[in-house]
Symmetry: C2
Subunit: 216 residues, 2 copies
């Protein structure tokens, strides 16, 4: 499958590398066609990897992974172009982290709205599925890094796109349990979990942890 | 030990009943000395249980459990009286839930502040420890209701009060793992987790679940 990975950071790298390893053709998109980080990734990720602008990548991809930083997400998706997102499953991994006041970060949208919802409103023809934002990028594509069971979440308005996301999570990335939090307003919960993730990161002194929901 | 339980709802009932069963003297505080819900609780909780105003309870208690609803918490604590909270461990179980816009609730404070911090600022001589707010009241006092390991959190500014809270959680209530999230600003994370709790409640169709942090 042809896949767009928007963003050249650690999340984009991890997702892009995994997808290329699985045999998919991956274009990493960024603001410029010759971004240095994307070029470095292409060199390491092999024959399935290429780079381009956000629009190049989104046009190429049958599925879009949004791995941009939250503060730049809406601009990146505008640059990708609504016509290139139309009708496609857009897996949104971004978090609305605001580092402008120092560490620890706060969220620039939360509680009564979310970045996932902002994306869906700005691009109503894209099928936004929020997922993977609640854990570290190493675990996103390799859940077995942690021993024992732990959970991934997803939410979105389009049942078909959620089914596709579930298939990717389970059968491509190896997630055993994925909890469907309903429509895209579930992104409020998923993004607000990230503040506890950041706090736990400071406490546990490792990024290699994840949430499990223990039920009766 | 003499303990104050502020609040007559399901949380106050569960905490008060457990403490009385453990042999502690418990006064349930509410706005009025003859509150009907508190009276009903006293009848069922046995000889260790009594009721009074918020001030009666806080004056009586060597430890204070704040089990009031978040929207009423600061007023309840004002009625309890700063002098009755001074120097005492104040276990804050409240959540800043705003039901005014219907269900699901939002939070009336979050992200850059928290109800736990508001309480600590309003009552600087109380030793506020935020804990137990991230799970259902049945699990608060009976963690073994869920099979398998799962986690409780706490945070606060006073090390002695946190040690006392930890002792209560582990040795009175039966919590096996308690994660210390640092100073009282950790309440932001703990209170924001409640929106994911509410969302999960809707999805899982049960309140009997809890978070576990799975580590490498």
């Amino acid at each position: 499958m042809n896949i767009a990975v928007l963003g050249t950071g650690v999340v984009g790298n991890a997702i892009g590398t995994k997808l290329a390893q699985l045999g998919h053709k991956v274009t990493m998109g960024s603001r410029t066609a010759n971004n240095e980080k994307a070029a470095a990734w292409v060199k390491t990720a092999g024959a399935n990897a290429s780079q381009g602008t956000f629009a190049d990548a989104a046009s190429f991809g049958e599925i879009i992974f949004n791995c941009t930083s939250g503060a730049g997400t809406l601009d990146a998706l505008k640059a990708a172009g609504a016509q290139n997102l139309k009708g496609k499953t857009l897996l949104d991994i971004s978090n609305p982290l605001d580092f402008s006041k120092g560490m620890p970060p706060t969220l620039f949208v939360c509680n009564t709205d979310s970045l996932g919802e902002q994306i869906q409103r700005a691009f109503p023809d894209a099928k936004v599925v929020k997922t993977l934002n609640t854990t570290n990028c190493n675990i996103m594509v390799n859940p077995s890094l942690l021993s024992g069971e732990h959970d991934m979440f997803l939410c979105g308005n389009d049942a078909t796109a959620k089914a596709q996301a579930l298939d990717i999570l389970k059968n491509w990335f190896g997630w055993k349990t994925v909890i469907d939090l309903g429509d895209i307003t579930g992104a409020r919960a998923m993004e607000m979990m990230v503040l506890s993730w950041v706090r736990l990161w400071g406490t546990l002194q490792t990024a290699n942890f994840n949430y499990k929901i223990v039920r009766q």
